[in-house]
């Protein structure tokens, strides 16, 4: 059974968008990339990844096309759209606000 994601709610979409901002990737690539970038701290469950990708597709923030991998396998590659880039900006600023707020709270408690 898939474990519950350790991610903060709503951050998965942002992480996917951020990952795709660098280069188009397939699903497995996205999961791998997030894990590596986070030094194995963040593991994206497949159970969350694919529904999230479908959500992003439906929102029009990413688009998908079938391409060949370096090993000549057919895979679905996701690319960030212009709308997705805009959304990423929004989510990043919201996230930073939130982190700043949380940090303020934590700092208060220490004092």
């Amino acid at each position: 059974m898939p474990r519950k994601s350790d991610l903060l709610p709503g951050t998965l979409d942002m992480l996917i968008l951020k990952t795709l901002n660098r280069a188009p990737l397939h699903g497995y690539g996205i999961a791998l990339s997030i894990r590596r970038m986070s030094d194995d701290v963040l593991t994206v469950e497949e159970g969350s990844l694919y529904p999230a990708l479908q959500r992003l597709l439906a929102q029009g923030w990413v688009k998908a096309e079938w391409k060949m991998t370096e090993t000549n396998r057919r895979a679905r590659y996701y690319t960030l759209t212009a709308a997705g880039r805009k959304q990423l900006g929004i989510e990043l600023s919201q996230f930073e606000e939130m982190i700043a707020a949380i940090t303020r709270v934590l700092r208060d408690q220490e004092a």
């Binding site: 497949e46 529904p51 597709l57 439906a58 396998r73 895979a75 709308a83």
Partner: protein
């Protein structure tokens, strides 16, 4: 832009479903492969890598469903749920059919009755600003609402400051001359502003003008729409034509709109202004009118009453003889029209809602039983990855489907019931209940139906989800639906049946009490024998038989000719039939008694000498009238027992005199006899003090002929009519009916019959549903305990003990249900005590019979599962599951 793309994406997902799935499959397969490769690179064996990757990936089906849900239209998955639900229901067609029928019954009954309530109590009367219209009358010691006299009305109209319109009306009748002969037509006589006060615009022509109700004004008439249609062929040029009524020519000034009715007058075909006051209308002491008033802006009914009461008090000082103790009465017009049926309709609505509750409870408990038996299915689906929300939606869909089927069928039932019930109301009563024409599916009823449907759906959808405690999914799989599994069932399911039984008790007691009231009402002491009596109303032409001698001769000819008819035993005339009303009253005074102007009100009837014998009423003292006692002889009077007891206590009244309030010489009559009370008032009235005059000394132009026959009284009615018309075809005859039919169609009998049958029907439904519910509970509980019973029997329990085990459970539920029901029933019957007649709300025989009936039915219902339990083969039971 992005919305558009999202929509497009969803559409592709919907229509390219197969491709969409294949792509997802491929994508996930790729993902698994990559993960497997990575694990192999880390040094795992190919087999272990495959397994680890698969485990990591989790439930592929669930994942696909989630991915799909992220983009799929709700609609699509709903359609899938629907198909599944339909399949589930089709697997148990008996359950689906039963549940639908029960729901339809509950819904149909409540919506139909609400249709009546809406038409009568919620929809406004068909007049302009009907809430400002008041019913106005006088008030006396014995009558809380009595007629106005014309003189009083005119003073009230002149002096009041409360009404912007104030007009009087009364009944009347004319003989209409048609090519086919003379036909009596019911009429309304009104003051000129009557239709303006009501705010009625004519369909053709105009209504009455001010001044048209003055003496000597030209004769004008307004036609009711129905009369215009049927009697005048809907001629568009009718306005201005002249019509012969009672051998006088009236000019038609207009036709009233089709929807116009004025229930207090009943079915009038023509309306005329009160131009020539009748003999009665010339006397201030003779009351024959009622009035409608339109309140001025800002005036409350209470203020209007105060205003009129002050005027009445002033008139009382001015005319102490006629107006002593005559006060004023004001109530909303709507109360006059629907006041009688209001408590009955509310009672029926209450009954119908109880049936609805019992129906919903019944179906819920059916659903609960079903969800019990589906525990395993739920557990399996849960284990296979169905989320709680998903399962919940599945159950809600099933509930929705059932509720939808029940609602559709229920609306059909409601329409049928409304049609049936409004046609069960006899015509003469329908005229007094104008709202009957408004009954049907309208905005109000549809809103009500929607509300009922929503509640029903909510209940049906939520009941099985109670069961859906997902913590227990694994227990469900493990235990296979035994043991603790039915704890919840016992907590809720069995309590539901107590509710059903209690409601059944309430409805049965209500039906029992109403039925007993109805029986008592029809078997109330009449003081005469109503069987084998036929009667017809007579109206003499106004311009013939004007001389006393002519009229007396006509009376005698009619009497002789009718008595000569085969089968006729005796014939009598009266001006007012028995079982009528507390009306046509007289104020009496006995010479030599102290008198302070009080009104000693008694009913007064003009009858022929053979009247009491024809009714088979009993003479107690003295003698009846004599055939030769006409106007040339001293005036004589018969009194009834009530009058004798009230005004001659401990004396022999025979030979004493009775006169009017001022003891005028011409009013003095000698009492020649005392008769036992004949029921003159309505069935639910008290016996009234009454006096009888010899009709030969009064010679009325309108009266009723009563015929007692040895044969079937209904068959003689046509020959009575043709016999009288053979004497003179110009005599108006109407309303031929037998005495028993007339009594059964009086308003009190009809209202009682209506409520008795309906509540009886509801009670029957409740009884059946309650008992079926109990059967279901017991049968289910036996099926759950088969193993336990098997163990007990294997350990030596006797069959009797097993019977006892099951029957004890049934008896406990029944007892609790009956007890709760009895308490509620007494409360409910106290609420409807005004509808009861001759029976108390806590009528012990009724309560006892209900307990016995329901008790026997319950025991019978639980006996079947009990004997099934007792015949359980222990080895089979132990092997089961």
């Amino acid at each position: 832009m992005s919305e558009l793309r999202g929509f497009w994406h969803r559409l592709t997902a919907l229509f390219g479903r197969t491709r969409y799935r294949e792509e997802l499959d491929e994508e996930m397969a790729f993902h698994r492969e990559q993960a497997e490769n990575a694990l192999r690179d880390d040094g795992m064996t190919p087999e272990a890598a495959y397994r680890t990757a698969a485990r990591q990936f989790g439930n592929a089906t669930l994942l696909k469903e989630q991915s799909h849900n992220a983009v799929g239209f709700r609609m699509e998955s709903i359609a899938r749920d629907m198909r599944f639900a339909l399949r589930q229901l089709r697997r148990q067609p008996g359950f689906a059919l039963l549940a639908t029928l029960i729901l339809a019954l509950g819904m149909g009954a409540s919506v139909a009755i609400f249709g009546f309530v809406d038409a009568a109590l919620l929809q406004p009367l068909p007049y302009a600003h009907p809430d400002r219209l008041m019913d106005v009358g006088e008030k006396s010691d014995v009558h809380p609402r009595s007629n106005l006299s014309l003189e009083d009305f005119r003073d009230w109209k002149r002096l009041n400051r409360s009404f912007s319109g104030f007009d009087a009306y009364t009944g009347g009748g004319f003989l209409l001359h048609t090519p086919g002969g003379v036909e009596p037509v019911p009429a309304g006589r009104v003051t000129a502003g009557f239709f303006d006060t009501l705010g009625i615009k004519p369909f053709l022509g105009r209504t009455f003008r001010a001044g048209e109700d003055r003496s000597g004004a030209g004769k004008v008439v307004l036609l009711a729409y129905g009369a215009w249609l049927q009697r005048f062929g809907a001629r568009p040029d009718i306005v201005g034509q002249s019509v012969q009524l009672d051998s006088e020519n009236f000019t038609v000034v207009g036709v009233l709109p089709r929807q116009f009715t004025f229930a207090p007058r009943g079915p009038a075909e023509v309306w005329v202004p009160i131009t020539d006051p009748t003999e009665c209308e010339q006397r201030r002491s003779c009351h024959n009118l009622f009035a409608v008033g339109r309140l001025r802006d800002g005036v409350t009914p209470a203020a209007a009453l105060q205003d009129l009461a002050a005027i009445a008090a002033q008139l009382e000082r001015e005319y102490p003889g006629s107006n002593h103790g005559q006060g004023a009465f004001v109530q909303p017009l709507s109360k006059l029209i629907v006041g009688d049926v209001r408590p009955i309709l509310l009672t029926l609505l209450g009954g119908a809602l109880l049936v609805l509750v019992i129906a919903c409870v019944n179906v819920s408990s059916l659903l609960l039983v079903r969800s019990e038996s589906r525990r395993r299915e739920i557990a399996v689906r849960g284990a296979l990855g169905a989320t709680p929300a998903r399962l919940l939606r599945q159950f809600i869909t099933e509930g929705l489907l059932l509720a939808a089927a029940g609602t559709t069928l229920g609306l059909a039932v409601a329409l049928g019931l409304m049609h049936l019930l409004s046609h069960l109301v006899p015509e003469q009563m329908a005229d007094r209940l104008p709202f009957i024409k408004l009954i049907g599916l309208n905005v109000h009823t549809l809103l009500f139906a929607t509300g009922v449907a929503a509640l029903m759906t909510l209940l049906l959808a939520l009941t099985p989800t109670l069961r859906l405690n997902l913590q227990h999914i694994h227990d469900g799989l493990a235990e296979g639906g035994r043991g603790s599994a039915s704890r919840l069932w016992h907590r809720i399911g069995s309590n539901l049946v107590v509710v059903e039984l209690a409601i059944a008790v309430v409805l049965l007691v209500g039906a029992g009490l109403l039925g007993k009231s109805f029986y008592k009402l029809l078997h109330v002491d009449m003081g005469f024998d109503p069987s084998h009596l036929a009667m017809v109303n007579v109206q003499l032409p106004r311009n013939a038989y004007t001389q006393d001698a002519e009229r007396l001769a006509l009376y005698r000819t009619m009497q002789q000719k009718l008595e000569a008819m085969p089968g006729v035993q005796s014939v009598a005339f009266t001006d007012t039939t028995p079982v009528g009303c507390f009306c046509n009253t007289d104020w009496i005074r006995i010479p030599g008694r102290p008198f302070h102007g009080e009104h000693n009100e008694v009913v007064e009837r003009d009858v022929t000498p053979g009247y009491m014998a024809t009714l088979k009423a009993r003479l107690i003292r003295g003698r009846m009238f004599r055939e030769d006692e006409d106007k040339s002889k001293p005036l004589v009077i018969l009194i009834n027992e009530s009058l004798a007891k009230k005004y001659f206590p401990g004396e022999d009244p025979v030979g004493k005199q009775i006169g009017n309030g001022s003891l005028d010489k011409s009013s003095m009559r000698e009492i020649v006899g005392v008769v036992a009370d004949v029921r003159e008032g309505a069935l639910d009235d008290e016996m009234l003090p009454g006096e009888y005059f010899n009709i030969y000394q009064q010679l009325d132009s309108g009266f009723t002929i009563l015929v007692r026959t040895g044969q079937n009284e209904r068959s003689i009615l046509p020959s009575m009519v043709s016999m009288i018309h053979s004497i003179d075809p110009n005599i108006g005859l109407y309303g031929e009916i037998t005495m028993n039919d007339m009594i059964e169609s009086t308003q009190s009998a009809l209202l009682h019959r209506f409520s008795t049958w309906l509540v009886g029907g509801f009670a029957l439904v409740a009884l059946v549903l309650g008992v079926v519910g109990l059967y279901g509970v017991i049968a289910y509980s036996v099926s759950q305990r088969t193993r336990e019973i098997g163990v007990r029997m294997a350990l030596g329990a006797q069959r009797g003990a097993v019977y006892g085990l099951v029957m004890r459970q049934a008896a406990r539920l029944t007892a609790v249900g009956l007890l709760a029901g009895l308490v509620c029933a007494i409360g409910a019957s106290t609420l409807i005590r005004n509808l009861l007649f001759g029976v108390e709300a806590w009528d012990v025989p009724t309560l006892a019979s209900v307990v016995v009936i329901l008790g026997i039915a319950s025991i019978t219902a639980s006996f079947v599962p009990a004997s099934k339990a007792a015949t359980v083969n222990p080895t089979d039971a132990l092997r089961a599951e």
